[in-house]
Amino acid sequence: MKDLHSFLISPAEAAQQHGPHDRIVMSSRVRLARNVRGSSFPGWAKKPERVKVLEMIQPAVSSLPQMADSFAEAMDNLTALDKQILVERHLISREHAAKNVGSGIVLNREESFCVMINEEDHLRMQALRPGFQIREAWMAIDRLDSALEKKLDFAFDNELGYLTACPTNLGTGIRVSAMLHLPGLVLSEQINPIIQSVNKLGLAVRGLYGEGTEALGNVFQVSNQMTLGEAETVIVERLEKVMSQIIEHEENARQTLLEKKPKVVFNHIGRAYGILANAHSISSKETMNLLSLLRLGVDLGLFPNTRRALVDELFLTTQPAHLQKQLSDKLSAEERDLLRADMVREQLKDVSRPVTK
């Protein structure tokens, strides 16, 4: 059995990964939902049936050339902390982390493919890419799917396409998404009209812990909602178009803010720097929101000697499970806040004050 932590790319390395437009698009993902014929969906199947499906699917996935060097494990063999770390890495869903016997994952070495077995569907296959690469992600997962269909008998209906546990995923079973960092649109209060127009196109914009549409760390996930009645390539192309426009709006918003309201921008970024570099207790939510501003500061050239990777690494290492993993003792939330602050101060000790000339 491989150890998950020696297998996973370190946060520092993960933060080094680059892709097109990565100052705004943090990552791209395409997932396909598939089920095998003749078995109940995981939510309805009894334990023995789920185990049987897992035992059939896991070797099939592991045998694919794309997964030659992979981490394959049953969910009940992973600790709660391991699962949480996978969630924080965006490799598995929250729902999947709650699974135990009869569910599993197969993750390849590059972390460009992660397959969840017996999540809501028998198979949730994801291709992940840094930056704005949804088309590349689609092509990669399409190939993986084509290779896998030779080994497994997928439930497919001539009329309805790929059959999924939830009717919202029926047809193509595709979800194309990207995580966008949009502090410029949030600061300039343009984010709501943008979200509304994106929604009108049948796309979803998600955020959490937000009042209004403010998302944690100004990170928004844009994805398609409809999966039936449109070909995968059409969906990918539409998302590409819409996301390109959002990227352009974000770039414009940043430029306009700097020209018209430099004091507002400097104030936000300066305060974020001040708190992060000097706090002795800080929650994960506050950290995310302030790191977002620090990231914006790096993008705008306010921290000329700092790389974005430093901020991106902190985005990951300050999350509860990643923080907990570095310690042997189980910590309470309050203790974690102290430790998080210590870590952020240490990481930022060589970052000098923002240059606001």
């Binding site: 109940s40 999947h96 209906d157 309805l160 396409g161 939830c166 009645g229």
Partner: protein, 169 residues
């Protein structure tokens, strides 16, 4: 503000999503949010919760009534109302009637366009054709038009077994 689920604890998790012209808000306590699997912005399918799938979603009542059950897995309409998910792939034909309206409101179309497993891709057209013929055949039998029925039956036979027919040529 109290949690909108348990109505006991203070709400600390606030969700907002705009779908189409509708803005929906949820305020929940941490436990209820966790129970609903709402904790991670990237994986959380808010749409599933908010678009009304699950609790408020119902299949149109079919002729067989609420007692309709999937012959393969035993899943019933009541189960769908509870979870918003189906029991097995076969459920789609069991509940086809009730699902039609739901799918229409949910998706761009009601017929799959796009990728199909390669093995099926070749036969997809044939299957389409067979379906239409079968429909015609049923109608012919119903109207006691046995002459047409016989022709249709022969056509179906040829289509279902195209390889040997061609080889004989």
């Amino acid at each position: 503000m109290l949690c909108c689920v348990c109505k006991e604890k203070p709400a600390t998790v606030h969700l907002t999503q705009i779908v189409g012209d509708k803005m929906q808000k949820l305020d929940m306590c941490e436990e209820c949010a966790k129970a609903k699997g709402i904790n991670d912005p990237t994986s959380f399918a808010m749409a599933d919760l908010m678009l009304g799938l699950g609790a408020s979603q119902e299949l149109d009542q079919s002729a067989a009534g609420a007692e309709l059950k999937c012959p393969r897995c035993g899943f019933s309409q009541a189960d769908f109302k509870k979870s918003g998910r189906l029991g097995c792939p076969e459920c789609y034909s069991t509940f086809a009637e009730g699902l039609a309206g739901l799918l229409k409101s949910m998706h761009k179309g009601t017929r799959h366009v796009g990728k199909a497993p390669e093995a099926l891709r070749k036969t997809r057209e044939t299957v389409d054709r067979l379906k239409t013929l079968q429909k015609k055949l049923n109608k012919a039998i119903e109207t006691e038009d046995f002459e047409t029925a016989a022709t249709l039956r022969d056509e179906i036979k040829v289509l279902s077994n195209p390889a040997p027919a061609k080889a004989a040529k």
